[in-house]
Symmetry: C2
Subunit: 233 residues, 2 copies
DNA sequence: GAGTGGTCTAGACCACTGT
DNA sequence: CAGTGGTCTAGACCACTCC
């Protein structure tokens, strides 16, 4: 009674996940090496490798050369969040999207923003405050600084007709970025923009994007009260 | 002046990312197929495939059989969040970890929790409220329901000495879960637990975990004011 | 129908690391 | 030193999907 061969890496993937969750392979335990598993499953080592590598990337296996592969004892689960473009997020919900510029001026960013962006005290940046609306209701308020050295041509753009994000993705692509999520109490100003009550708790997304080592933009997005960001693991 | 061959998939990965961010390959544009790229780079098609597949998984390329590979026009960036085990997160910051059980009782979950967990009105569950502390200061307060059918033996556990999470990872592994992040205003009770002021904005993580289709636990973690969750893209 | 990505295979060499 | 995972190669077949 030999098992039928597992022909695809997805088959192997599923089988290994099953052995982990059924505790046939227990946390901390060393599992057979790739060659033995390939023999057992009746497939090539490459196929086993692809499956195990994928599972390891998800955090459920720990792999080390020579030491072999172990079931993770404390699976630090990795969740993949889709950071949406606001317009798409709203339109995918079947709601109408609108955008409104609240203010636009050139100035010196506050010291914390300068520090994160790596700007000097004399550097100027474009400061935008804008609102994204879903079905005419405030959805998210963004407070953004754009490094004029990192986004050539930005001074000439009319941001009343195009959102900063859309202009930037088309004109100043970034190579990497830092994200952080937090919660903040609405102050009077932002509460007014969002149509929220003062003291409402707001979900906050802070993002800085870079082109190699020069900062392009730093933005704080304050979502309307009740907003949730969801994913699966 | 032919370029030197790119020998590893990381080389190809870097080169392709460079062509995208430098706009040599523009958004929406069709890029050469794998065979041509392999010829150009002087490597095997498998190597090109690995690199392009990785980039596509990150959202910067759209690949379709027969249609070919295009640079994504609206790169929906995917951020990978590490969902930490609280004890580890605290210990990695070099702080001391402590855990305190606030209450433990068997009861019927509120209707929204029942709905999300797929429990009937008559089903009983174990309700725990507990606090995780970093350097003796409240770090996160968890409000948890455990499905007794999904976690055999849970009634006999002494949760004053071990945290629910640690017992569950060791004894009732999950196959999948739903996560959501939001912000919530602290009510009087939770403010007291966390040593926060009422109305403080709290970062909230809701998680339900499943073993196949039976819910194991539903937990709401309310982090101390000022908490941030960070990642990069 | 034909072009493209998706994957499998068998074999090989390399890089890391525990002993 | 030796065992393990990490990767490359060349060739092959398949699955999807556009035309």
């Amino acid at each position: 009674m030999t098992a039928p061969p597992l022909n695809t890496w997805q088959d192997v993937h599923a089988e290994v996940l099953d052995r982990i969750s059924s505790r046939r392979w227990k946390p901390g335990e060393l599992i057979p090496n790739e060659i033995d598993l390939a023999t057992e499953f009746g497939c090539a080592r490459t196929t086993v490798n692809r499956a195990l590598r994928t599972i390891a990337e998800a955090g459920l296996l720990d792999r080390k050369r020579k030491a072999g592969t172990r079931v993770a004892t404390n699976p630090v689960r990795k969740a993949t969040l889709n950071i949406p473009i606001i317009r798409q997020e709203i339109e995918q919900m079947g709601q109408s999207y609108a955008y409104a510029l609240i203010s636009s001026e050139i100035g010196t960013p506050p010291v914390d923003v300068r520090a994160r962006m790596g700007l000097a005290a004399k550097d100027k940046a474009l400061h935008l405050i804008a609102l994204h609306l879903a079905n005419q209701r405030p959805y998210v308020c963004e407070d953004r600084w754009i490094n004029m050295a990192g986004a050539p041509g930005v001074v000439d753009v009319d941001f009343t007709s195009i959102s900063a994000n859309e202009w930037l993705v088309a004109n100043a692509p970034f190579t990497n970025g830092d994200l952080s999520f937090s919660a903040l109490r609405a102050d009077a100003k932002i509460a007014e923009h969002l149509g929220a009550k003062p003291n409402d708790a707001l979900f906050i997304l802070d993002r800085i994007t870079w082109d190699r080592s020069t900062a392009i933009t730093s933005v704080r997005m304050a979502f309307h009260p009740g907003y949730r960001m969801q994913t699966t693991i």
